[in-house]
């Protein structure tokens, strides 16, 4: 279908974009790669009065080394994330998950900021942001703000961005070489959304898992940290059987949805099995 009518602005600076968005009121939306918003417009599920296209804001592109952290601009595409050497070295989990998103054509258009601000519980990168303990950077009429990933996702397709605020990037603490990672995604066809996804990070020490972090995709209205399984994995022997029993707690904090792709019990089962696999891969066993 052809989208309903909307006004269109393409500002050339971030402050101009913030002003345009704030002036547009509650029915103004930011558009970047358009890989989530355009389908909604074409299906006539969204009817914004104004689209603010931030595609020209080159200050929001690229990966910046800040010492202990990396800052990744909101307009960085999934494909750039996939091929960036700094991301590969310091937070490879992000690239591993981005590689599973849709297909190459989509990954060349889709942006990191778009994926996070759309906040689809079935999208892969929000759970990765949660597992990485990332912070989201945003600018609004009141200035710049940093929001912890845990506070950023508030509900189905809903973030804590205020009206008029634009997601500018993503700050992630660098992980040392002793951290392993794995993104385990279960979907029925190659380009489909995750029925359940598991983002796992594990730090190994002396044949044991010293520390683990687990983020779950599509196990609630927001990405879920599997804290109970993280605690069970910490100190466990780096073996498949030990990690599998830690993963038995993977769904403890979840409230999985029920839809055409699976009932909650099925998703809980998937989360436990996939977490076992993801932890084992992240711990390199």
């Amino acid at each position: 279908m052809i989208p309903a009518k909307f006004d269109y602005a393409r500002p050339s600076s971030l402050d101009e974009a913030v002003r345009a968005l704030a002036d547009g009121g509650e029915d103004a939306k930011v558009i970047a790669g358009g890989q989530s918003l355009l389908p909604l417009l074409r299906l006539r599920l969204a009817f914004p009065d104004l689209l603010v296209d931030i595609g020209r804001l080159n200050e929001l592109r690229g990966v910046h080394d800040e010492g202990a952290t990396l800052w990744i601009g909101a307009l960085t595409t999934h494909d750039q994330v996939l091929h960036d050497p700094l991301i590969a070295e310091h937070c490879g989990l992000l690239a591993a998950a981005a590689a599973t998103v849709a297909d190459p054509a989509v990954r060349h258009r889709a942006t990191l900021g778009g994926s996070l601000s759309h906040a689809d519980p079935a999208a892969d990168l929000p759970a990765v942001a949660a597992a990485l303990d990332a912070t989201i950077t945003a600018r609004g009429p009141a200035g710049d703000r940093e929001i912890a990933a845990a506070d950023f996702f508030v509900d189905y397709l809903t973030t804590s961005l205020a009206p008029g605020e634009i997601l500018t990037g993503f700050r992630v603490p660098k992980l040392g070489a002793d951290w392993g990672y794995h993104y385990e995604k279960f979907h029925r066809t190659a380009q489909a959304w995750a029925i359940v996804g598991v983002a796992a990070l594990a730090r190994r020490s002396n044949g044991h898992v010293a520390e683990a972090r687990i983020g779950l995709t599509n196990m609630g209205t927001v990405p879920v940290r599997a804290r109970a399984a993280e605690q069970a994995a910490a100190g466990a022997e780096a073996s498949r059987s030990a990690l599998r029993s830690a993963a038995e707690l993977a769904d403890a904090e979840s409230q999985p949805p029920s839809d055409l792709h699976g009932a909650p019990d099925y998703r809980r089962h998937l989360a436990r099995v996939l977490t076992g696999r993801a932890l084992a891969a992240a711990s390199r066993v």
Binding site: R44, F47, L157, P257, S258, L260
Partner: protein, 141 residues
């Protein structure tokens, strides 16, 4: 699709009954709802439901089909069409008031049928959205 919600209001059932049946008085408490006209037991109006970037507006009518003061049960049948799409929504809402000694527990049982694009959201999201709407509706301020 069947949904079940409940909430408690800090007034006795007699008072709650009066207020909840006064459509023009309670409609502003319903997030996104606008009443266009009330004609006897038939109410026509619109409801706008927002979920992130998705905004759906349904226009239609609702009709009281049961008002039983003795069992404190009221039933409402509503049906509407998307104002900017081709989808439809219809619902039968049966509410029961229960006396909790000075307070009232309202149980809302909804049987809902949704067609068109919004139907693809599935039940999980519908329950979430429904709960949020009822939660806001029941808020005191």
């Amino acid at each position: 699709m069947e949904l079940e919600h409940s909430f408690t209001i800090p007034v006795p059932p007699e008072q709650a009954w009066e207020v909840l049946l006064d459509v023009e008085r309670v409609a502003p408490c319903m997030p996104g709802a606008t009443i266009d006209a009330v004609d006897g037991d038939v109410i026509s109006g619109r409801i706008k439901v927002k979920v992130g970037p998705i905004a759906l507006t349904y226009a239609g009518t609702a009709r009281f089909t049961e008002k039983d003061e003795r069992s404190r049960t009221v039933s409402l049948e509503a049906s509407g069409k998307e104002t900017r799409g081709t989808g439809t929504a219809s619902a039968t809402v049966r509410s029961t008031l229960q006396d909790l000694g000075g307070q009232t527990r309202v149980t809302v049982h909804t049987t809902m049928n949704i067609t068109g694009r919004p139907a693809q959201f599935g039940r999980g999201v519908m329950v979430e959205v429904g709960s949020k709407i009822i939660e806001k509706f029941a808020q005191l301020d």
